[in-house]
């Protein structure tokens, strides 16, 4: 898994976000996708083939970083900067339309 270049021994992260309910350190200016790359097993599953995927292009074109961010499914994680307390959940298939 990846590690943040901002991570330094003895220095606190800028914020905590929740990834699948687990408190995860994050830094100002990084994106949801970059957090997802650091958390084991936090990728999505392709709604086409069901295979596991991780963020790839980091520039909004490949859609491999789709996640549920603060309750909104199919959010492109690489286009969304993190905010303190943000709830990020892995999207395991196609989005569900609520009743």
């Amino acid at each position: 898994m990846f590690k943040s270049v901002r991570e330094q021994l003895g220095k606190r992260s800028d914020m905590i976000v929740l990834v699948n309910g687990v408190e995860t350190p994050a830094w100002d200016g990084e994106t949801v996708a970059s957090v997802l790359l650091r958390v084991p097993g936090a990728g999505r599953r392709s709604p086409v083939s069901g295979t596991p995927r991780l963020p790839y292009c980091q520039m909004g074109v490949c859609f491999e970083c789709l996640a549920i961010v603060d309750g909104i499914a199919s959010t492109q994680g690489c286009l969304v900067p993190v905010r303190p307390g943000m709830r990020i959940e892995s999207q395991r298939g196609p989005r569900e339309i609520s009743r």
């Binding site: 709604p47 086409v48 298939g93 196609p94 989005r95 569900e96 339309i97 609520s98 009743r99």
Partner: protein, 369 residues
Amino acid sequence: MDADVIVVGGAVVGAALAYGCAKQGQEVIVLDGHDQDMRAARANFGLVWVQGKGSNAPAYHQLSRQSADLWPGFLRELTETIGMQVDYSRPGGMIYCLSEAEYETREALNKRTHNYVPRNDTRMVDRRELERMMPAVGFGPEVVGASYCEADGHVNPLQLLAALQRGIVAAGGKMLFRNTVESIEPGPRGFTVKAALGTYAAPRVVVAAGLATPALTDPIGFKIPLRSERGQLLVTERLQPFLPYPGSGLRQTADGTVMIGATKEDATDRGVTVASATTLALRATRIIPALASAQLVRQWSGFRVMPPDGCPIYAESAAHPGLFAAACHSGVTLAAVHAAIVAPAMLEGRLSTDLAAFSNGRFDVQKCA
């Protein structure tokens, strides 16, 4: 002679007719246009639809119904031959009504149609029944009910087109792509068809070139009047299956995407507009408000092939027997009859008896003062 039959146009109408001819043992050559040519088949919404079709034209309604009934067997035979999956299902279909007035208008139309159909399989369902039929759907407050027809279904039109083209080849026919036809010349023993990549001769020629048909048939005195009508469509990202019935203008595909369509416009360019996207999305979210949270991934336009009265044209030239034309709006719904009924009728000279209601001669009636 290069073949028994040359079909001009290899999209869904031409391909179904060519497939039907090839299955009759005819040697068939299909001359198709360029990849970028306009094709209603590629813009299609994918309904195999009966209710409301030809509500003022009994012959068209009955042909649609006959085709919808032939569809399951037609597709089974086609896909078994070529070993290809085509997403198709026939759970019945909905036309949603967003006001009492819409509900009453639709009910009246159904009653009118019932007068000339053998089997009454269309009924109005009120909101309560609609909710029972679709427990996973939250309907908007304006939804009064729907018209439900058991004969309706839906298909992936792109897979259908690919399957038909493969079916032609499997039945011994030839598909010649990127081979746009320039002219058709009648001769003493048949027809000479000049195309981009060669010249081909056959005793029978079927023109099924969509909106390009009149440009090929009119110069030899075979008038096929058509008008173009633009429609725009939207499609969402893939969603968990929640919508078990296809609807007019709203259906969830086997892939999970939701298709939203379609507008009726006069425009002749193949562009799309924000105004039409808004109209389509508004109506869809009035029916199912939760769709507002789905991402739209694509918007496109296509052109309906419209005869003046909206009914199909299946015609043989009086001056040049053996020259046929087929043009219609509902190439997907009618694919089964095109293969099983219309193609054999052309080969056996039975168009004028079996399918007389669809001749182009119907447009020649002298205008009353």
